[in-house]
């Protein structure tokens, strides 16, 4: 009997897939790594109930079969792909908002709820779940919790972990637990170890999240946007420092580099942005007079550094100005027709003060490897997303972009930052964890072994360097000969 046959006997409501074509569609996420090396699981379970999740875990644990929990697989780090085969546990059909408790400002929902759907439902009650990964239309709240997603407003509201009050988790042996105190609706607690925070960001390596208790807040009544254009990256950096020193606390600060600005001009010529090294967007939220005061204050503070500033609290103008930021992902492709984004080395975070220096270094790496990179990011928190453009059919470019990713990861560590600011480690950044964490990685491994002694939960992610069918050029000195990748199919 195959794994799929076994599973079909165990489950009641959930569905089991094992046709090769279907399995193939679960062989990748958005990462460049799984584009090079897609890996089909042995079976997919479309989970519908916590009991079925528990049954799958008991079976997998007893038979030492790897299990990879999966939300929307919109991740860019190969964190939701069965890299060593086994079962993909798809949680996207557990997509019910179970309760919105307006009096206690919290929501209970299943992990497959899509972020935009949650906030649309909350908006009817004038409430919001503030973490916003930007990928709101596809990301699931389970995936957001598993990767501890941050997003554009993290500079004011913090990461997902700050908004998760409790979880229902199925442990690798099938046991169902509730973190954050059983049956609690309290908004804070000092009772014992914070297991909620341990599971959030664990990328499905410790257990499966089957329900979330999320903290909410009222939707801000007003927003305003300030746009600043800068001739030099350093002036943009100084502006951010100056704004923080001025006492204004923006809800988002975004940066677009020179290439991004070029890309937007190609995509929407009507925007006619001047040639500048950096564009900054500051968002402030709160009450109407407050946001106007904040916006004017920001203009005043950044004025000496900027070539031009502009602000607005008109909703239509705000969305037009935000458009520059939201277009970037699509627009960078315009820099090089026929090429695609390769998601690798796409999520570093460095100290805010070192952003201009880091951006210059990224541009140097780009030029040296002849791979165009357009970088944008959440400068308020130090997060940067270098967008590499390559021709995916060119084996040499594939090698070069892997080197670029490697160098960017090492650059981030050298700057005193991290290889992943908000997307997660996955398999893509697992090779850097020893360098990033030192002996702390071993403590993480001990925790992992305590909860998952058989090592069945999402192997190949975070703790161990994954076994890949091609060689990753890691820590490679410049100019080393290329290694041809293999697509195993």
């Amino acid at each position: 009997m195959s794994v799929a046959d076994d599973l079909r006997q165990l489950l009641t409501a959930s569905r089991v897939l094992d046709a090769p074509a279907e399995l193939r569609t679960y062989a990748y996420d958005a990462s460049f790594l799984t584009q090079l090396a897609p890996r089909s699981p042995d079976a997919v379970v479309i989970a519908e109930t916590v009991q079925d999740v528990s049954a799958v875990m008991r079976y997998a644990n007893a038979n030492r079969i790897p299990v990879t929990p999966r939300g929307a697989a919109s991740g860019q780090a190969a964190g939701a792909v069965a890299l060593t085969g086994g079962i993909v546990l798809a949680l996207n059909a557990m997509n019910q908002i179970l309760e919105i408790d307006t009096a206690n400002m919290q929501a209970f929902c299943e992990p497959g709820v899509v972020h935009a759907q949650l906030n649309a439902a909350l908006a009817k009650q004038r409430l919001i779940f503030p973490p916003d990964p930007g990928s709101s239309r596809m990301a699931t709240v389970g995936g957001m919790a598993s990767t501890n997603a941050h997003g554009m407003r993290a500079v004011k509201y913090g990461p997902t972990s700050a908004w998760v009050l409790g979880l229902e988790v199925v442990l690798p042996d099938g046991q169902i637990i509730e973190t954050g105190s059983v049956g609690s609706r309290a908004k804070q607690s000092s009772a014992g170890l914070e297991l909620t925070r341990l599971i959030v960001g664990a990328e499905g390596t410790l257990g499966v999240i089957t329900r979330l208790r999320l903290k909410l807040m009222p939707i801000p009544i007003a927003r305003a946007i300030v746009v600043g254009l800068f001739d030099a990256l350093e002036q943009a950096g100084q502006s951010v420092q100056a704004v923080f020193a001025s006492g204004v606390g923006p809800s988002a600060i975004e940066i677009l580099d020179e290439r991004c600005v070029q890309a937007i001009n190609l995509y929407r010529p009507a925007m006619a942005l001047p040639r500048v090294e950096a564009l900054l967007l500051f968002e402030v939220d709160g009450n109407p007079p407050g946001v106007r005061w904040d916006a004017e204050r920001i203009c005043e503070v950044i004025g000496p550094f900027a070539r031009r500033t502009e602000w607005s609290d008109e909703p239509a103008r705000i969305s037009a100005l935000w458009e520059a930021r939201s277009l970037v992902g699509a627009a960078v492709g315009m820099l090089r027709p026929g090429s695609n984004r390769a998601y690798c080395g796409e999520d570093i975070c460095v100290p805010v003060a070192r952003i201009p220096e880091t951006l210059r270094a990224v541009q140097e790496i780009s030029a040296r490897h002849r791979i165009p990179i357009a970088t944008y990011g959440h400068i308020g928190g130090g997060g940067l997303h270098p967008g590499h453009l390559i021709d995916g059919r060119d084996a040499d470019e594939i090698q070069r972009v892997l080197r670029v990713a490697d160098e960017i990861h090492l650059l981030a560590l050298r700057m005193g930052g991290t290889t992943t600011g908000e997307h997660g480690v996955g398999a893509a950044r697992a090779p850097y964890m020893a360098q990033e964490h030192g002996p702390a990685l071993d403590v993480m491994r001990r925790l992992k072994r305590a909860l998952d002694p058989n090592g069945i939960m999402n192997p190949g992610v975070i703790f161990d360097t994954p076994a890949l069918p091609f060689e990753m050029p890691l820590n490679a000195p410049v100019g080393e000969p290329a290694v041809a990748p293999i697509d195993p199919g």
């Binding site: 046709a19 074509a21 679960y26 958005a30 584009q35 479309i46 919109s74 992902g329 695609n340 697509d487």
Partner: protein, 437 residues
């Protein structure tokens, strides 16, 4: 296909993914499977074919894709390539041959069939067929329910020209492109200078000019009242969309060539009142891009194609009568997603006094009609139809307006089944009624 970055942004826009939540029933999965087949990593299996053919080709995924993946042409090529692999009974093969290679290829034959349908509906044979339960064969009753009441008079293109009913036109024929997706400017030089009698040609269509000929005539009247001189080129026929999406690309291209030729004698915009046909006609440039003798002709043709709502500017039509009540405008996928047109029909409707436009939930999700999808995939089609009707009726409209024959018939059939008094009309019909002298 190579452009897909697998970000998953398309998932929640896809009707079949929304219904099943299976990755293989979503755009990212379909592109992934097609690529795996092309690269030799997957065999073409019956389940793979089923997932691909379950696609409605509604283009909702293309509309949201940040990487520019375009599902429609991908499905067209794929379906033609896999057609030989699909197991069909000899009866089904015969029917396909008859419909695709014989019936649609010649409008004279098509009109004969439409006339027979008219006879069937009027002569008492339908009454008899229903009484004798002849329609109990699977799928037949469903198909029969979707048929419109065929009118007595067809709208047969004979190369005639209709003079504008306005003596001196004011600036009416601004030709806006889609909602900003199409580059601004006017490659075909179609923007009216405001002088009397700008010329347009009407694309009459196959189903539109026969079974729904009243809508074609309403379209003609509206264009004339808006100040256009309208030509109705002879020799035009079916646009080929059903062939292209049904795995017969050769047939589609043959029809496309004759359409291109038919309109070459005329100038100005080619006005279409069927969203599905309009999307296909605008895609001609793509389909012939690597055929040297046709590429330029197809490009010139496609650049002239405009939906009715693109050539009429609000205020251009003399509105005389009002319509009282709540109106739901049902976005046809091939207008909203494929042609990026959503603003213009709403603006036109808003010009009619008394119209209270109401928006519905999941407005961008297909109603399940999708060409002949309601016949090939009745299960999913019905689920989507019911979902759409639930959302529409929750808005408590007195009238539903759409700009595509498929949506029109699909919603009408569903409303009749629910015994709902709510009417479904084509945009041209409403504008015709409102501007009737």
């Amino acid at each position: 296909m190579l452009a897909c970055i697998r970000c998953g942004l398309c998932l929640t826009s896809c009707p079949t993914y929304v219904l099943t939540l299976h990755e293989s029933e979503g755009p990212r999965g379909r592109v992934g499977m097609a690529r795996a087949v092309a690269e030799g990593h997957l065999q073409v299996t019956p389940d793979l074919l089923e997932h691909e053919l379950n696609c409605l080709v509604c283009d909702a995924c293309s509309a949201v894709c940040p990487a520019g993946v375009h599902m429609d042409p991908l499905q067209v090529v794929l379906r033609s390539a896999i057609e030989p692999e699909i197991h069909r009974s000899w009866g089904e093969r015969l029917l396909r041959r008859l419909v695709f290679s014989w019936l649609f290829m010649d409008m004279a034959r098509f009109r004969v069939l439409a006339r027979l349908l008219w006879l069937y509906q009027r002569s008492g044979v339908r009454w008899l067929a229903r009484r004798l339960r002849v329609l109990d064969l699977p799928g037949l009753a469903e198909a029969e329910r979707l048929l419109p009441e065929v009118p007595r008079r067809f709208f047969t293109p004979r190369g005639e020209s209709y003079p504008s009913s306005v003596r001196r036109r004011s600036a009416t024929a601004a030709v806006p492109a889609g909602d900003g997706a199409v580059p601004a400017g006017d490659p075909a030089g179609l923007v009216s200078d405001g002088d009397a009698g700008s010329q347009v040609s009407i694309f009459a269509g196959c189903v539109m000019s026969t079974a729904l000929a009243d809508i074609d005539r309403a379209t003609l009247r509206v264009l004339l009242r808006a100040g256009f001189t309208v030509r109705n080129p002879a020799e035009q026929g079916c646009c080929g969309a059903l062939h292209a999406h049904g795995g017969d690309l050769r047939g589609a291209l043959a029809l496309a060539r004759s359409c291109i030729s038919a309109f070459e004698g005329s100038e100005g915009p080619i006005v279409v009142n069927s969203a599905g046909c309009g999307a296909m006609l605008k895609d001609y440039a793509h389909h012939f891009r690597s055929e040297p003798s046709w590429a330029e002709r197809a490009r010139a043709f496609a650049a002239r194609v405009r939906d009715l709502s693109e050539v009429l500017s609000p205020g251009a039509l003399p509105v005389v009568h009002g319509v009282d009540g709540r109106v739901v405008y049902q976005d046809a996928c091939h207008l909203l997603h494929a042609q990026r047109i959503s603003r213009q029909p709403r603006e036109l409707l808003s010009c009619v006094p008394g119209v209270e436009l109401v928006e519905i939930d999941e407005a961008a999700l297909c109603c399940g009609s999708a060409g002949i999808y309601n016949l090939t995939n009745p299960v999913q089609s019905r689920q989507l139809q019911q979902r759409k009707l639930d959302h529409i009726l929750a808005a408590e409209p007195s009238l539903i307006v759409t700009a595509n024959p498929g949506c029109l018939l699909q919603l009408r059939a569903g409303l009749v089944e629910r015994r709902s008094p709510v009417q479904v009309k084509h945009l041209a019909e409403i504008l015709d009624e409102a501007s009737a002298p």
